[in-house]
Symmetry: C2
Subunit: 641 residues, 2 copies
């Protein structure tokens, strides 16, 4: 008696019945599924049982969280935000000018995009740490997609209009996903694919910088590594500019050292943060006094002074370009979203607050729609600047407002000073910024954890590097989907054995000491049984049985009399699955083997009864645990156990 658990000794006389959940009303079931799919975060929770005036206030606070956290805003918090805001402003100004070039736009458009969108976000966003503005990957993606449609040098005006149109649709896409609560769709881009895509994009962006860095005039428009290297090599003799290379490499070394110091000692993060601005100031001054621009060093030449102009009238709302802009906008919007949501989630976890993904998307969408009407292109959360923001001690989105005001002042007063800034320095700043996007450690970890993920990661990486950003993205999505589909097509099954001195049955591959019960074959099915795998599962179970029978025959042991299917992991079953079980039952019946089910879940029980399969198999053949099933069905063996 000592060796048997109460549950089973109890069951031998009256086995504990497997619960059949109460029949749910159809509408209730349907609405529960709907709620779990689209409102899994229960967004209306705080509205429950509140008077309607309070509901109005809560509603406003839901759309503009600033009215919620703003009420407890303090001077201490502002101190943190001020320092953080000034730091990210010093970082964003030189980056913006460089990123605008990646998008084939004039430098001021980068600055514009660091002025309006952060303001809008500060009112609507719920992340406290994200730093909003143009980012390298989205700028490159937008630039690549746009120049496939319009030549940015020959038709600069049309190009710009298309860029604003794409930005508008990027915002609409983001807001729509948020409003329709389809935010979960971006989860279909796997972490591994994003790591690969970002790394590939970083390499591509760095390669693009060779143009500015080496001072090459005739540079390919393709972004793949082969075209770029051909451009670089073919211009080696006459196209490289030595003073440019000198300036660029000196400051690149300076930036990388600053970055290293900031990484090594978190206290000195501001060294890395301030280095780009210092580089710009020093190099501009250097060019100004040496007149290096006359020795072929390319300079910024001109940044328009003054604030963003309205650009509503420049959006395409008819003609061929609407569809093209929409297509580009959808792609850029989703990539921008992925980046922003990843950043938001990361920092929210670090500071332990919750972010509502769908609300966040509405905020990002609204900010890009507003941006598209004020001469901005797609802005989103920047990895590097958000990290600096965090380390500089930002407390709320007010740091974005501070940054925005600094950019405003820069636009109003200091843009002419950038005239002599060498392009090489912008290239160096971009290179040092995007290097951080190459996440070796993550790739190594992915390799260790999941080889299939690693394939997705490398597929995206090499796709971006050797083909283009679009191809890389496509590869990443296709491999990610293939993985999901493989999972639902070829689920695992396992033979179970009894773990010595317990009543627990586990996979004998994982627990080699587990012993099989004579005359019984226990198989666990590790997945919901759906049309995509029902035939496979049925055939796989029969193959386990055939293998076992062959082995038993060779060993001269008694044949299998009972086949127990452990259903704990079978969370759902559909009509095809029911058919497969029925066919399995028939096949076994002809071999005089009993089919026994252990622990079907509520949904499965419901469907077993709805389809009358429970009656066919026999209700007394359905048990709460494998141990119960073994003890009840194989009485002659239990005493030996």
């Amino acid at each position: 008696m000592e060796t048997r658990s109460l549950s089973s000794s109890h069951h031998r006389t009256s086995p504990y019945k497997v619960g059949v959940p109460p029949k749910q009303k159809l509408w209730k079931e349907f609405s529960a599924t709907l709620r779990e799919t689209f409102f899994s975060d229960d967004p209306l929770r705080s509205f429950k049982d509140q008077p309607s005036s309070r509901k109005l206030i809560l509603g406003i606070q839901a759309v503009f969280p600033i009215f919620e956290w703003g009420r407890s805003y303090t001077l201490a918090k502002f101190k943190g935000d001020l320092i953080a805001g000034l730091t990210i402003a010093s970082l964003c100004i030189p980056q913006d000018i460089g990123y605008a070039k990646l998008a084939n736009l004039a430098p001021q458009y980068g600055l514009y995009s660091s002025f309006v969108p952060p303001l809008v976000y500060a009112f609507m966003g719920s992340s406290r740490d994200i730093a909003i503005g143009p980012v390298a990957v989205v700028s490159l993606l937008l630039g690549t997609l746009l120049q496939n449609e319009i030549d940015p040098t020959e038709n600069a005006y049309e190009y710009r209009r298309l860029a604003f149109t794409a930005t508008f649709f990027a915002g609409v896409t983001q807001a729509t996903l948020g409003i329709l609560r389809l935010g979960f769709l971006i989860d279909f881009l796997s972490h591994a694919a994003i790591v690969g895509f970002m790394g590939g994009a970083a390499i591509t962006i760095a390669l693009q910088q060779l143009k500015g860095f080496l001072g090459i005039v005739n540079f390919t428009k393709n972004t793949d590594i082969i075209s770029v290297m051909q451009s670089v090599v073919s211009s080696a003799h006459h196209g490289w500019n030595l003073p440019t290379i000198f300036i660029g490499s000196t400051f690149l070394v300076f930036l990388l050292v600053a970055k290293y110091i900031g990484k090594k000692n978190k206290k000195f993060f501001w060294v890395a943060a301030i280095a780009p601005l210092i580089s710009v100031i020093l190099s501009t001054f250097f060019v100004y006094i040496t007149h290096a621009e006359k020795k072929g060093v390319q300079i910024v030449k001109h940044i328009e002074k003054g604030l963003n102009r309205p650009s509503v009238s420049e959006l395409y709302f008819s003609g061929d370009y609407v569809l093209k802009g929409a297509r580009i906008g959808v792609v850029a919007g989703i990539i921008a979203l992925t980046e922003a949501v990843a950043i938001g989630r990361t920092f929210a976890t670090m500071k332990d607050y919750q972010i509502d993904g769908n609300k966040e998307m509405v905020a990002l969408g609204a900010m890009n729609i507003a941006g598209s009407m004020t001469s901005c292109y797609v802005a989103t959360g920047s990895f590097s600047r958000s990290a600096v923001n965090f380390m500089a001690g930002c407390q709320t989105a007010i740091s974005n407002i501070v940054m925005s005001i600094v950019v405003l002042l820069a636009l109003l007063f200091i843009t002419p000073l950038f005239k002599y800034t060498p392009n090489a320095i912008l290239s160096s700043i971009i290179i040092s910024a995007v290097i951080g996007l190459i996440d070796y450690d993550a790739a190594i970890l992915i390799w260790k954890i999941d080889k299939f993920d690693f394939i997705a990661c490398m597929g995206a990486f090499f796709g971006v590097v050797f083909a283009s950003v679009e191809i890389g993205l496509l590869i990443a999505i296709v491999i990610s989907f293939a993985k999901l589909l493989l999972q639902v097509t070829r689920p695992r099954t396992a033979l179970l054995g009894k773990i010595p001195r317990t009543n627990v049955y586990r996979n004998i591959q994982q627990y080699p000491e587990a012993t099989k019960v004579p005359g019984v074959l226990i198989i666990r099915v590790d997945s919901a049984i759906y049309f995509s795998n029902s035939n496979y599962i049925r055939e796989r179970i029969l193959r386990w049985l055939a293998d076992e029978e062959e082995q038993l025959k060779a060993d001269g042991l008694p044949q299998v009399q009972v086949l127990i299917v452990e259903m704990s992991p079978v969370t759902d079953i559909d009509t095809s699955g029911i058919h497969a079980l029925e066919e399995l039952h028939r096949s076994l019946e002809r071999k005089s083997i009993e089919l026994v089910l252990a622990n079907p879940g509520p949904v499965v029980m419901d469907k077993l009864y709805a389809s009358k399969l429970a009656n066919l198999i026999g209700e007394d053949k359905i048990f709460l645990t494998v141990a119960d099933a073994v003890q009840t069905c194989v009485p002659k063996f239990t005493d030996e156990v």
Copy 2:
């Protein structure tokens, strides 16, 4: 002591360690996955440890199973095959003539397709019960797709060439899927979607027959119910032919009564099987003696006498039509495959023999390739004729050879006799044949078992009936995929409680008598944790916790100290999943709640260690069962249990 199982009392002093499977070699792991995906049926099993001469014979037998079962063929078996073959021949001849019209081809092409393909199949196929030939749904599908490209009346020759080309590519598709062992791809068409699609196609085909049945001359080319009914109504006054309606409806009643008799009493199945041929003979004779064709009764007029002509030279291998033929061929080939494989599996289960799906596809592909070169169009297994074949007592594929020989004789000698066969009779035969494809019972069962499946079923049905076969097919595929993706995006989670007087923890929704353990929250995750659901699962667990804490606070009970995640159903985890667990651990740490894992499977354990997450959580926080976890982590509560 009585109330505690040995396993847990044993564990309290030394918990049974969760097994970490031995580290597998990368290649071994990879090849195991590959094998399970593509060779899950272990096709080379019989080749193991055999001399090479034996291997050659086995190889030939693998490709041509007739050389295997043929060796034990007996006269008794032949008797069964002969009767079955004659029965299905009598059924197929009138059906073939009608089906060819569905494909917009001359009647003899239907007969051709019942001559060559069954012969090829008999040598290569592994089903003993399937009856090969043209079928209604594929004929309709092919006819619809082909007439979108070429007008069948104006350009009959080009149309025929494209039909053969499509047949060729249908065969190539089928054989390729089989050879590359991608047969599992057809499992992505769910049972529910097929039921809906077949039902819709049956309605559409029956509606098409109104043309022949009512003797309408000007009939729409669209297949949707609205266009067809408009055609019927608008021709009501001048386009309907009364003698035609008389003949058609008389024999339709006769056919349906015969069918009813055959269904009611299985012994009289031959009544239903022979009725079509009798109808043809009687009606042809009737028209011949009354010269009803002069009263507007449309007749077959002409069926070419003689055997199939070679059509290799008529296949398009260059030009625009290659791609069009290939596209149509792929669609028709896959639908044909779905039908044949479903039939093969059904009868194999009934007679308890195994069918190798991939080998079957090669056989079907080879037979259609051969068919395309001998003036046949796409043939596959017919539901109605296979059932008759089975009931008539067929033993092997020899019944197909018998049928093929009868068709050969018919082509050589009796086709001129069909001259006066009224089209109305063919329409009646088709209507009575396709009615069987409308499976009310299956649809009702689907409704009972799975509402989502029912939506897929109805989507396919109404898509076919109100739009077209392609649209219906597309709807079926999209809904099927959406269901799979929903499953991997929004998996179920459940709160567990202890079932009284046992050590078993189960879903408290399914077992309302299960009790929660004070201070402990036990959550089961019902799915592999992948990038598509990792964020959702993390947030859902935290929401369970928040709900529980709110409830406990309201009830004035002690707060949660331990959160146990039951991982039994978590069959796999990827990098995103590991990150989600890590973030969950961090969030809980800040709330001073312990994260405990119960029963992670081998793959999950492997990855927990590879990612060092096991160390972060603590190896002593991973337990074999929930009961162990509860007893070890919450000692102060165990005595109360």
